[in-house]
């Protein structure tokens, strides 16, 4: 199993992600509106959490040959709030032959947890990985 370092999600992360993605949904950008919501405050974009965990896991896994992400099944289980510290736990659940002789497929199971140990996101990713020559 791989366990990533932690990362604290900041207001700046959310503002930058809104600017980059163009997703200015009030959930992420209007603090006053969100005071009255069930969350009580702005929350991070789900896709920001997904992108952050991808980077976090990249810091804790070995680099695999010619790796490419090919598939994703993902659940957003709970909100990510400003100030939450996330880490990722991941394991390789399966390995298969690929369609082509030069690569195989691995399936990873991942969970994104906050500082309270709550799973905020989880899912499965599928990766093409190069095979050892010869």
């Amino acid at each position: 199993m791989y366990r990533s370092p932690g990362r604290t999600v900041t207001e700046a992360d959310i503002v930058i992600f809104a600017g980059l993605s163009g997703d200015y949904n009030v959930l992420h950008t209007d603090a006053e509106f969100m005071k009255a919501s069930i969350f009580g405050e702005r929350i991070a974009h789900g896709l920001l959490g997904l992108s952050i965990q991808q980077g976090l896991l990249g810091r804790s896994e070995p680099r695999r040959a010619d790796e490419r992400l090919v598939g994703l099944k993902w659940k957003f289980r709970g909100p990510i709030r400003i100030g939450d510290t996330l880490h990722v736990e991941a394991r390789i659940a399966a390995k298969h032959d690929g369609e082509k002789p030069e690569s195989g497929l691995i399936t990873m199971q991942r969970r994104v947890l906050n500082q309270h140990g709550e799973v905020v996101q989880e899912g499965e990713t599928e990766h093409l990985v190069g095979r050892r020559p010869g």
Partner: protein, 144 residues
């Protein structure tokens, strides 16, 4: 709150009841630049072997903003519940992507309605770059 005195039309929103199953919506295009890649890589700590390769998750993230630019008012999405996605072709800096989406199904729930959206991201050659199915929790129209 700012919504009290908005002119009619300005605050128009689409609710669960307004979702038309089967309606196809296409966004404007977005040309992928080294600025997008640099900002995304810096924000998310993505390590790239080649600076002209677009990180796999970036087109998906951009499609969420492009989705606000279709010729209809925005859907009141309460939560993005989950999705299944396939990455079929790598995108490169200089490619122009757009997103084509369609509601496949809708189901009424206690706290809102669930909408299943099919979304495909195409490039300037109309090749499918990535796509999948998203599950969204959408607000019901408030009682008048």
């Amino acid at each position: 709150m700012s919504s009290g005195h908005a002119a009619p039309g300005v605050e128009r929103k689409l609710y669960f009841e307004d979702v038309t199953v089967g309606l196809v919506l296409e966004t404007p295009g977005m040309t992928l630049t080294t600025a997008h890649v640099g900002m995304f890589s810096g924000l998310c700590d993505t390590r790239l072997a080649d600076p002209l390769t677009v990180p796999e998750l970036l087109p998906l993230c951009l499609s969420s903003g492009l989705g606000w630019r279709v010729p209809q008012p925005p859907l009141v999405v309460l939560a993005f519940m989950g999705f299944e996605w396939r990455f079929l072709r790598p995108a490169r800096v200089g490619d122009t992507i757009r997103s084509v989406s369609k509601s496949l199904a809708k189901r009424l729930m206690k706290e809102g309605g669930v909408v299943i959206e099919e979304r495909n991201i195409l490039n300037q050659r109309d090749e499918l770059v990535q796509g999948g199915k998203l599950t969204l929790l959408v607000a019901r129209r408030p009682a008048p």
